[in-house]
Every structure is written in C-alpha cells, then in structure tokens.
C-alpha cells in the first residue's frame, strides 16, 4: 500500500469514525429523549385513565346510591322484609338499570342471594360476594355472562335506604371501548383495555377503537406478562417488519380489591417520530460521512502533492542510484523537512559521483601503476640475464678464441632464451589488451567442459591429481564462443593444478541452476585468503611465483563478454572453488 493510499485510508477512517461516533451518540440520545417522552406520555395517560376511572366510579356510585334511595326500591325492600315473595321481582333490574343508565345491576337479599340480575337473569338465588364492598368506593369487578364470556366493569354497592334486613343494590358500568372513546388520546398513541383475563389470550377481549384493534394481536406477550406477574410490562412491539411501525408499549394490570388482575390497560406510543428523527440523523451522518470521504480524498490528494510525491520521487531516485545511475538528482525545492531531505540526497549523490570518479581515477592510476610495476617486474627478469650475458660476452672478448667461442655460444643461447621470454611476456600483454570479441553461437556448455577435461586429463594423472566431474544429463544451451570459453576454463584448470603441487582432487561440474548454466572448478589446494579473493581478478595480480597475473583477468573478461558471472569461494587451507554462471538460451542477452 502506497503512502498516498495509507493517508487516504487514515483520513477516511478518521472522518468516518468521528461521524459514526457523533451519529451513534445522537441516535442514542434521540432514542432516550423519545423514550422519556413516551414514559411521560404514558404516565400522563395512566393518570388520566385513573381520573376517568375514578370519575366513572363516582358516577356509578352516585347512580347506585340514588337507586338505593328511590321509592321503588324502598317499596320492594318493605315488601320483601314483610314476607313478600321475591319471585315477582325477577326482572325488575331491567327497568331500573335503564332508568339509572347502568349496564350491570343486581338486587341482592340480605343473605347475599341474588333476587334480580340484569346481566344474568338466571342467576337468581346464587350468592353475590360483591355485597362485601357495601359503602366502599367504586371498585373493579369481573362479571361473568351467560354466554361464557366475562366483562370488566366499575361497580358500587349500597344498601337500600331503611331496609332491615338489608336489601343490596350492586350496580356497575362496563369498562369497554365506549369508556375509551371519551379518552383524549394524542395522535400516534393507542389505548386499549384487555378484559376477561382468565382464559387464554384472545384479541376479541380487547376494547379499543378499530385502528388500535388492528395491532392488538402483537401485544400478546406484554399482556400475558402483566397478567402473570401483576406488574407493569414494557417493551417495543413491531407491528410490521418496519421500524417506523413499531410501538413503545406499556401494559398496566388493573387489579380488583383482592389483588387479582382483572384487566390490562395497554398504552402504545408510536415510535414513528423517533425512527424518522433517527433516520434523519443517520442520513445527515451518512451525508457528512460521504462529504468527509470526499474531503479525505481531496485532502489526501493535496497532501500527496505536498508530501508523498516528493517522498516517492526520493524513493525513485534512490532506486536509480542503487541501480547505478549516480547522476540522479531530485527536483524538490520546498523549504520543509522533505526539501532538506531532497537537498541532502542530491548532495549525497553528487559526492558519490565525485567519489566514484576519483575512485575510478585512482583505480585507473593504480591499475596503470600496477601494470607498470608488473611490466617492469616481468621485463626486468629477462633483462637482467640479458645484461649479464652481454657483460660476460664483453669480458670474454679478452679470452682466447676457443674460450670466447664457448662463452659466446652459451651467451647466445641465454640471450635467445631470454629474448623469447620477453617476447612471450609482451605477447601475453598484447593478447590481454586485444582479447577478441566473442563470436557467440548456440552451443552446449557441457562440450566446453568435456573438452577441457579431456585435454588436461593425462596431465592431471601425471601430477597425481584425482579428477571428479559432474556434468548435467540435460543440455545446457548457451550463446557462447567455444574457443574463449575453452581458454577461460583452461586457465581455471591450470590454476587449480598449480594450487595442488603435491596432488589432490580437482572437481569440474556443469549443471543447470534455474536459468543459468553453472560451471565450477574446485581444488583441494591451500586456498585463498579473503584479501586474495578480493584482488584475484585484478590484472597482473598473482599469488604464484611465476606467471603474468592475467589468467583470471582473462577469465573474468571472457565471462563478462558472455554476460555471465564469476565468483570464488575459498577458505585458507580448504581449497578454492571458482563458479561461472552463464545464462541459458532464452535468458541470454544479445
């Protein structure tokens, strides 16, 4: 990943992280605010319900009280208490309830047996326990009906005025959808009453408006919880799969005097507003995040222009320097750290270039000096005997002719030999100076190795040097000059022979190493020191007493002309191993 991409990613992540944090915080805060609003609204509605309930209870109690004080009931009480039959009053509850606008009404004798019941006429004679609440405030009561259902109502119980023994009036009004119709419910809020809590959950037991009933089935879990535990149950109910259709629901159990849950008041607040605000918040956050990313891209581009490009340029220039182009310069003119780095880089490359030039100059001078020294040394050897021989010949002039002839004959032989020696030295120098360009053809490198092995095999035997070969079974096709390669390999073999005067093992191998034909010549001689390894390929450098020191230089030159490499591996006392790598055909450069 480039610096520019990293910076872009960092900026983008930073912006997105900040926006996400702000968005999440805002969303949570919005939710808390709306939950608080829901809670307050629910509390308000519950309080209102309580007031309405109390008001209805008071109205019911008032109606029952007036009925209990009416002449009709007083007459009935008088009749019953004077031995009258209660049977004629079986259906008296109906007109009385109509007159006092009650939905439930029972006349109950002093022993608790029902005389007349509006809601269940056939229950005459059965006991009505509600007379125990005589004189108390209105209470919630579940009333069983002939069809097997139950209804919840607000009831009050009074004794008929002046009745002794008492004749009771138990009257009530139903807690149904009509009760809720007068309820001021804010928009988005539903209020329902679940009645008949004794049986399994049934949506038909809800009393509410038609709109509220459509979602009633979804409140089952909360209603059952409130029924079972007698405590408020709260939760979020999803009417459809969409969040905006979810409701924040509170189920409040309505209990009778004995603590039994008779009904459940359900207050459901729509979460649509909250969801929409959250969505709006989120959309803004997404928008800001999007803008932030765009900003991050632009910023990263700008930063790239200011920072990463110079660094990339520096990196590219460093790569060029590493590849050998020491003339590389970077054109960065800023005054900041990057500019200082660029100036330092340019300075460094300039100095490297100058130092390289000086080094080349120095090496050239050194090479010339070395060449001159070696040349002087090489030439000096044959020149000294030449000089001596000539001096002997001058001195021998004074000798008798017969002795002079002998001296002359020996001196002439010596002169001839040394002149031949000189010619050889000069010839080698000449050869090295004008090493021919290789005439490359496609050839099998193994043949060059086999030719050298075959040529020097007998000589190795004479010198008690064991020969070991490892030649690849597959062809090692290279582009090469067989003569030059033969010459180079011959030099390496001769050097190896010179390194083992007492005998040893010479190993020659030719194998494939990836895309290179690797030819190695190793001996078990005295080995080379690290300093010798460094200078081994320098012209005229030699560790031998004799020789021009050009052999390995020639080998290196031949290998270089074949676009190959040569290396030496050696430890003092452990022999030496020369490894030539020549590119195989297909990887060879023209």
């Amino acid at each position: 990943m480039t610096l520019r991409q990293k910076m872009l990613l960092m900026l983008a992540l930073t912006v997105m992280g900040v926006v996400a944090a702000v968005g999440w915080t805002g969303s949570v805060r919005v939710r808390h605010v709306f939950e608080d609003i829901d809670r307050q609204q629910t509390e308000m509605l519950v309080g209102q319900f309580q007031r309405e309930f109390n008001q209805r209870g008071a109205d019911t109690a008032e109606a029952v009280h007036r009925m209990a004080d009416s002449d009709v009931l007083k007459r009935i009480a008088f009749d019953l208490n004077n031995g009258g039959d209660s049977a004629p009053y079986l259906t008296v509850a109906l007109p009385l309830a109509q007159e006092y606008r009650l939905e439930y009404l029972e006349l109950v004798a002093h022993d608790g047996s029902i005389i007349s019941s509006l809601q269940w006429t056939a229950r005459f004679g059965y006991k009505e326990p509600a007379i125990g609440a005589t004189g108390k405030p209105a209470f919630l009561k579940q009333e069983d009906l002939p069809d097997g259902t139950s209804e919840i109502g607000v009831f009050a119980t009074r004794t008929v005025t002046g009745s002794d023994p008492a004749l009771y009036v138990v009257g009530g009004r139903q807690l149904d959808a009509g009760f809720l119709q007068d309820f001021p419910v804010p928009a988005g809020t539903q209020v329902l009453i679940y009645r008949n809590v004794s049986g399994p959950f049934d949506t038909h037991n809800f009393a509410a408006s038609a709109d509220a009933l459509s979602a009633a089935a979804h409140y089952q879990a909360l209603v059952d919880d409130a029924r079972a535990n007698g405590q408020n149950a709260e939760g979020v109910v999803y009417v459809t799969g969409r969040r905006e259709d979810s409701m924040s629901v509170t189920a409040i159990p309505l209990k009778a005097a004995d603590g039994n849950v008779l009904a459940v008041l359900v207050v459901a607040n729509s979460r649509r507003n909250m969801v929409e605000v959250q969505r709006h918040f989120r959309d803004i956050a997404y928008g800001i995040a999007g803008l932030g990313i765009i900003f991050a891209v632009l910023a990263s581009l700008w930063i790239a222009a200011r920072i990463s490009r110079p660094i990339e340029e520096l990196a590219r220039a460093a790569g060029q320097v590493a590849a050998g182009d020491w003339e590389t310069r970077v054109d960065i003119r800023s005054l900041d750290e990057v500019g200082a780095l660029a100036r330092s880089f340019n300075n460094m490359t300039r100095q490297l270039s100058e130092q390289r030039d000086r080094l080349v100059q120095t090496e050239r001078v050194a090479a010339w000096r070395e060449l001159a020294r070696r040349l002087a040394h090489e030439l000096k050897n044959p020149l000294t005997p030449l000089q001596i021989t000539v001096e002997n010949m001058v001195r021998a002039k004074k000798l008798p002719k017969k002795q002079f002839d002998e001296v002359f004959k020996e001196s002439a032989a010596t002169l001839t030999e040394e002149i031949e020696n000189l010619k050889t030295i000069v010839g080698r120098f000449s050869d090295f100076s004008k090493l021919p360009k290789p005439q490359v053809v496609e050839m099998d490198a193994r043949e060059a190795v086999r030719r050298v092995v075959k040529l020097y095999g007998p000589a190795l035997e004479e010198k008690h040097i064991e020969l070991g070969t490892s030649i690849s079974a597959e062809p090692l096709m290279i582009l090469g000059d067989s003569e030059l390669l033969h010459r180079a390999l011959s030099n390496l073999v001769l050097n190896a022979m010179d390194a083992m005067p007492e005998g040893g093992v010479l190993t020659v191998s030719a194998v494939r190493a990836k895309e290179v034909a690797r030819i190695s010549v190793s001996d078990t001689g005295a080995g080379l020191t690290p300093e010798e390894c460094e200078r081994l390929f320098t012209p005229y450098y030699t560790t031998k007493q004799h020789g021009t020191g050009l052999g390995l230089a020639i080998v290196q030159s031949v290998v270089a002309d074949h676009n190959g490499t040569i290396a030496v591996e050696s430890v003092e006392g452990g022999g030496a191993r020369f490894v030539i790598g020549l590119p195989l055909v297909g990887n060879a450069h023209a």
């Binding site: 039959d85 209660s86 049977a87 004629p88 079986l90 269940w120 006429t121 056939a122 229950r123 005459f124 004679g125 059965y126 002939p146 069809d147 097997g148």
Partner: protein, 462 residues
Amino acid sequence: MHRRFVISALCVCLTLSAAARTRPHYGGTLRVETAGDPWQMPDGIARRLVLDTLTTASDTGGAQPALAVRWESQNAGHRWEFWIRPGVHFQDGEALTSDTVAAALTDVCSRQTGVGAGAGAASGACPWRTVRGVGASVVFISDSPVPDLPELLAQTEFAVARQDASGAVIGTGPFRVTGFANGALTLVANDDCWSGRPFADAVELRTRRAVRDQWLDLSVGKADIVEVPPELLRQAEQQHMNVLVSRPVDLLALTIAPEGWFASREMRQAAALAVDRTALYNVIFQKQGEVTASLLPESLSGYAFLFASDRDLDRARALRGGATTAAMMLGVDDNSSTMQLAAERLALNLHEAGFSVQVLAAGSRQTSALALRRVHLEAAGAQAALDEMLSRFGQNGAGSMTGTGTDAAALWQQERGVLENETIVPLLWLPRAWAVGERVRDPRLLSDGAPDLSDASLEGAK
C-alpha cells in the same frame, strides 16, 4: 194497591233482564290474538275452528263422538272401525265420506313421518299401519294393539282436512277461512256446520303478536281473547284481568340424547339430579303449575308424586365423577325469553354438578345433546295422555303395558320404564291461560287449555 203494582212490575223487569242476560246472542266478530301460528299446535286456534276430528276429548278423559258417531274395537285393539256421521259436508259443500277421512288421515301420517310436522305435533308415526274407508266407516289396522285409539283421534293433529283447488284448507268445522290481511286471519261462521252454527258471525285472528301488545289491545278493547303465559299469571291477576286458567297441559322437560358424554346412563342420571325444579317453579314460572318428575300431571295420573323431583347435587357430582366434560350445548325449542331464561337456569344447575353447558342462542339451528322442550298435552285420559306424551318424545311403543288402559299401576310401570332411561327429565307441568274481555260471554277452555271459540258469544251482539 199501587205499591203492590210497583213491586210486581219491578219483579217482572228484573226477571226479564235476568233472562236476557243468560241467553247468548248470535252475531259479532270475536277478536282473538296469539303469539304463535294459528294453524300449529299447541293452540292451533284456526285449526280447531276450521277442522273437526273423528272424536273429541271429554273432560273426564274419554272420547266423545264428533265426525264419528260410534266405534268398535276388534281383534284386541288391532282393528278399529269408526262410523262416519252422515250428512256432514265440507265448507265447500262436498260431502264427508269415509274415503275422504281415510285420505285425510293418511296424509296426516305421511306428513308426520316426513318433513313438515308442526310444533307440538307427534314426533313419531301414526299408531296404525293402514286406514281405509269401508262404506260408511273408516277402518284402522295396526300391528300393535291401540286400546285408546278413540282418545288419540281426538287430538287436533288428526283433524280431517282437504285442500281446495286454490290450496286453501277446507274442513267441516264451525268456521271457514275467508282471507288474511294486515296480519289478521278472518274466519266466518259456517252456517251449515253439522254441530250447529256458532254464535259469533266471525273470528278475527291476529297472530304472531307479542303478549304485551295483546294485553294492551285487550285493555283498550281492541281484542277479546289474549294469551297469558303462566309466568305472567300473577301479574295479570294483579291487573285484575279476567283470566281463564286450564289444568296443567304443558310439560316442560329436559331431553338428553344418549350420545357422547351422555351415552352412559349414570351421566344422564347425574344431569337429571342436578336440575333444580323448585327454582324454575318458584321464580321463573311464578309458582304456576306444578313441579313434576312425571310424564303425566298429578291430576291425570294420580301417581305423579311417586316420581322423585328433588334435587340431589351431591349425588349428581358423585355420579359424574371426576370426568372433565367438553362444553355441551343446550337447545331450546321455543324462542320465548322465558324458555331461554329457564334454559340458562338449567345450564347453571348443570354447571354446579360439573357439566359445562352453553345455551344455544334463540333461533339457532345447531343440534344439541340437551334440549329444553315444552310439550303440549291434548288427551284427557291417562293412557291416551301417556301414549301422546311418549309419541311427542319419540318414544312410541316404549315400555310395556301389562294391564288395561285404565290400570294406574300399569301406567306407572310403563312410565317408570321410560323414565328410568333418563333421556326425558320432566320438570314442570304448566297451565295455559287466557285473558278474556268483557264482551265475551261465558268463556271457557277446552280440556287441553285452548279457548272454546265455537261456543263463544259476544255481549251486545245483534
């Protein structure tokens, strides 16, 4: 002298007015209102006025001649021959013949075995196998002996009727139908009726009228005879209405089909023991009629008290055991609010014994294992009454008769044999009652509680 003259004149005037008071007059239109269908039992007022039966029931329980003048039983009651009264004509002038009678009775039987039997009609088939006209008589052949065939033939369902070309019902009764308009069926007197011309010129019969409306019409003089349900008798008397009350003629009974949870007799017995007849009698029916566990009223059989009618809730629970029954339905064959109330009360009684019972809504066509029925009794004789009740409950031929038709012990045994099965639980015997207006002279009821309109006359009729 003068004083003597005045006193004598006064005595003559009083005598004359008294004589004028006791003699019925012809004329006038008798206005009758009912809540039910005038052609269907139990009242069947129109049916009774337009049609005649071969016999009629006497107050003592026997059979009296009507369209048949005499009869004879042969072959130990397997064969009966009834001689048709001569000179009787249908209201369209056609003579009454034995063939006509046989055809009419055959038609009655075929309707009973198929769809179309009216409320209160016999739920079983006719007691004879064949009926045919032979000369001036009608011969009945039955597989089993029918010792009380004359009493049975007095029932209104065996009235002799024809249909004219237009499909109208033609009979030999004292009145004939002339039209139906504005909810009122109009019948005019049959001047050539074999039993004599009725006193009233016409009868206007308003049907399907609520009891409260009938009472209102009576109070304002728009009706002469209206119904008084037994549970309103006390109220009618409190309102000083002129009420005619019959003997107990309607049996309120709970029927239990021997199927499902009630396949076992113990369960049916438990249900029977759970019923509280006293509450029904004291409160719902306002102490009218009599509590019973018998198929016949005490006044008819004399042994009704032998059947225990007390509630035994503990034994009912013990018989039911711990079985948890599914909800059962209790049907009511009468849409009246009183019957619905009685059914709800029975449901409560059964609930106390551990049965889960739901009362079917009025008008529901759903079948139910339990049913509260109100069955009307026409026969006046004990054996005929028992046969009639058994027929009404679909128990034709149930039990066995070991003695004569008048043997109370045999009747009791026969009835006990039926009731032991616990598929019929008699609850109450109820009377029928009618409130009569001031215009009606000498109103009286027939033995089965229906008003006798054929002999009714109106005050001030000319």
